[in-house]
Symmetry: C2
């Protein structure tokens, strides 16, 4: 039995790259990508990937080099999911809602060799590059090098906007459509690098292997039962865990990618109706966009649209309204570290008989582990004992399996903290119900989930601490009517600076952090309640935060005319959504 | 990137054993197995597997030991698919239609340590064991040991039939339901051993790894789009490529296994109707059983039943009749060496618009590679050039990927022959159509596919050669109204034995080979047409065979009364089906 060796015919490294090659052959003339006025077939998409991979090699990109990209859900970002690993490199899709400082930090930490920038993000990218140069000047290391910048112009309606000399379509044009890509020598090789703020202040670079990406993709198209000929709407940013692996998954099923630049009601309804969308992923906040759309923004939805959603459990009423509109919702739970969703709430036919509110309660649970996870459990963190399946005993959610990340880039300490006793610790607290379905009961205490995006309280606190007037600060979640949760900062001012105001602090925050991280309320206190070991008692602060009102400027001025309000709503959708709702965090979905 | 090591949390060997453990947790109270009066839940099935695995360890079964089993589709055989590898051992499910000699050969070659025998097969098993002892006596090797025999009595209605002291339920009874099973240390470890006659006369032992079995299972439930809560009818023997991996696949989806002892019309219709079967696999010969069933043998089919079928492409008329009955058919192509189906004919919605005969033509193609195959191609065997996708240029079908077997047990020569230039050579000849779908145009010339079962002409010839009257023999396929193909033997008699008759030869065959292998026609010729290198010109012989009539005794006596004919038909179904139709070969489906 043991004398039968592996050979190239029976042992081929697992990689999502097989999906695009296969798609180019067996789905060659099917539509792969639709974006505005542009349409590609799978053969064309594959050839574009081959060309891009070839050009990247020509630009000296080699194995394990990081290729960063800052772009919305345009065809280029989709193609890069295949082309970059085909060149042997590692794709780093950056959250487009981050500020220049965070982007610079990522470019520096990842040592990005190439930096693709969508034309809409040229300004922020320039600023990030300026900060990167500055950081290099401060540094004594000789190893540092600036990334080669390549702009991605709009493929449908070119704008001419540039940042440096190179443009994406040039690389496509001069590439070789017959380039087969570099061989994946080892399925443990890295394919992607995704940064998550997680629970600490420094961004952590989560590294995926080809094996992990392949297996996650396989089990997610399975868990969601996404069939062949799926039409997938890109309402979830591809930079979130590589679009929860569906970047690769749509190729696996020979489906069609409907790419949209913004998750506005108009773009989504149009896409769904025009292209007969069958599948989409999003945070529950997107439900509001769809439900609150004005009649003229809507189109008729003729076929059932399957939605995979994560994050805060959608309330029963919201679920019901969505189902009435023609959407079928499946709830999932995941983390960047688990390559996206790790559990999905598999629906059971017998539940159809139950009252709607009970159905919603069942549907809002996080569910059962996907097939490629070796194990999911809820354990007492200290004893490592599994909790009984009683729906009440809480413990930490732990995962094991080949779809879990390789680790955090250049961060042995955090990697070691995440992997203990043969398990990955999620930091989330849950229960297991008697039917084996898992439900999250509490989140890792430091994380604030706002509009689907993870906000690290530790990170916010460390920025607040740097303000000259602030002595102490503790940030916790407070309820927000739109975003679910928002950061609320409890601040103790220095004796010498008792005159500082909320708006001063907020304007300081605006300069120092990404927009969605800015606290929606700053509460001044004389002292922070502390635990025995001197840490702020956040449990208590959260209770207080629940009783507070969000700062009025945040909710807008109700005295304006109807027209103004509508304009505000539009701007709200444009800017805020663009800023925040579009950002569907996968580190805790 | 390269400094992130594998650890038990993020690198877990792939194995189908995770499916049953997961099922026991997340589908714990769902029905796992239905057989006659017996019903189990997934928790019960898992616990029975734990118990059996524990008992096997108690009986000194250790890693890489072979556990053979001769049984129809009863719950025990299903459970052994998990319990045997849980004990670290390798499952060898033997084709129940083989004769005692073939069974003895397999027991000897595999060095089976334990031999489970269904009560119905006690007689043939005893004979096989007797032959095994005899072969040991002829041998000088001291390594040989008889397997421990354990009978499997009927779990629903125990018969008391025994072969030795041990019975299956005893092992279950005395086992430990909390035994977690041995850890799979390496996903390359062996999980199953399946014998195929292939194209040579010696049975070849195809070895599967845990990795290969896991990946095949994943991609087949995917390719067939088998969702959660599937109800799977066991019309395909589990001993064929482990039921085309659906033994493991049904556990992965938390479905229900409907086990039946015989694929008679009554058992199948009853199962389908009573348990609302959604999925079943079978050779096209089973279509005839379903279509030819008498009214009193039928039950109403209320829901759509998905059939995955392989082997000879079903004719358009047959497909149409089946669809009218409520069956939805998908065509597949595979080999034992590819862990079952390697290609499936994915249906395309646009084909629904085409005329029925055109649909049938499209459906009868072998289709596209499953997702875990790294590559499928049709190549010129000599130049290794890929054929153009023109639907006419023929070449050999070659496969690559981690779902291909580890190799042939103790047969380096055949293993080396199968794996060349990084590909597995199927020995089948096909074309690729412009839409990327593959179609088999000719079979590896030596194989006869009768009622879905592979028959090696080389094997038959070598037996015929041993007959004292025979000088030369060449066996080719001839058309058969029921079995599709049947063996036709062209025989040159020795000068000294010109008086030998067809019935003498046939009765010799009956003693020497399994029933389904017996030629349906013996044609005496003066000399065999030969090729330049002295090999029989089988292309020519096949043309002659097409013009011949099957020996009359084979078709029955038409002069008998109506009642007698009906009885004959019943016997035909009972015996012949039992003997042959039940046997759905997977070495070339």
């Amino acid at each position: 039995m043991d004398k039968l060796p592996k050979c190239p015919a029976n042992y081929v490294p697992l990689t999502p790259l097989t999906f695009i090659k296969r798609a180019s052959t067996v789905y060659s003339n099917r539509t792969s990508v639709i974006y505005s006025g542009v349409r590609f077939t799978w053969r064309q998409t594959y050839e574009r990937c081959c060309r891009l991979a070839y050009s990247l090699r020509s630009l000296n990109v080699v194995k394990n080099d990081v290729v960063s990209v800052l772009a919305p859900n345009v065809p280029a970002l989709y193609e890069m999911h295949f082309a970059v690993p085909m060149a042997g490199a590692v794709l780093n899709a950056i959250n487009t809602r981050l500020d220049a400082k965070n982007i610079a930090t990522i470019l520096r930490h990842s040592e990005a060799k190439v930096f693709f920038v969508d034309y809409e993000y040229v300004t922020i990218a320039s600023e990030a590059l300026r900060l990167l140069v500055a950081s290099f000047n401060d540094s004594s290391s000789a190893q540092l090098a600036m990334p080669l910048v390549i702009v991605i112009d709009d493929v449908s309606k070119p704008t001419g906007v540039r940042l440096g000399k190179l443009e994406y379509e040039q690389l496509i044009h001069y590439g070789n459509p017959r380039y087969p890509g570099e061989d994946v020598e080892d399925e443990w090789d890295s394919i992607a690098l995704n940064y998550t703020s997680g629970t600490t202040s420094d961004p952590k670079g989560v590294v995926y292997s080809h094996r992990g990406a392949f297996l996650s993709t396989m089990s997610l198209i399975q868990g969601w039962e996404m069939g062949t000929e799926a039409v997938y709407l890109w309402s979830l940013p591809m930079f979130h865990c590589n679009g929860w692996t569906f970047t690769w998954g749509v190729a696996a099923r020979g489906g069609t990618n409907v790419c949209i630049r913004n998750t506005t009601a108009v773009e989504m309804y149009k896409g769904i109706s025009q292209h007969k969308v069958t599948h989409m992923c999003c945070a529950p906040i997107v439900f509001n966009i769809l439900l609150e759309a004005k009649p003229h923004e809507r189109c008729e939805i003729k076929s059932k649209v399957n939605i995979l959603t994560g994050g805060a459990p959608p309330p029963a009423a919201l679920l019901e309204k969505m189902e009435d509109l023609g959407f079928h919702i499946m709830h999932a739970y995941g983390l960047t570290e688990a390559t996206g969703p790790a559990l999905v709430c598999e629906w059971q036919t017998k539940w159809n008989q139950l009252p709607k509110d009970q159905q919603a309660r069942l549907k809002a649970r996080q569910g059962v582990g996907i097939l490629t996870l070796a194990d999911v459990d809820v354990k007492d963190k200290d004893t490592m004992e599994s909790v009984p399946h009683d729906g009440t005993t809480m413990g930490e959610i732990v995962l094991r399996g080949s779809s879990i990340m390789k680790g955090y880039l250049k961060d042995e300490k955090e990697t070691a903290k995440a992997f203990k006793n043969g398990w990955f610790f999620t930091g989330d607290v849950g229960v297991i119900h008697p039917d084996g379905y898992l439900e999250i009961k509490d989140r890792s205490k430091d994380v604030i989930i706002s509009g689907g995006e993870n906000i690290s309280s530790v990170e916010l606190e460390s920025i607040l601490f740097e303000h000259p007037a602030i002595l102490e600060a503790a940030v916790v979640a407070m309820p927000h009517p739109r975003w679910g949760e928002s950061p609320c900062a409890f601040v103790v001012l220095k004796e010498t600076a008792r005159s500082a105001t909320e708006s001063e602090i907020l304007s300081y925050c605006r300069k120092k952090m990404s927009k969605f991280m800015i606290p929606k309320k700053v509460e001044f206190v004389k002292e922070l309640p502390k635990t025995g070991t001197g840490k702020p008692q956040k449990v208590l602060l959260r209770k207080v935060a629940k009783t507070l009102q969000i700062t009025q400027t945040e909710l807008g001025n109700n005295k304006r005319s109807e027209k103004e309000i509508h304009m505000d709503r539009t701007r709200y959708h444009r800017d805020e959504l663009h800023e925040q709702e579009n950002v569907l965090a996968m580190s805790r979905l």
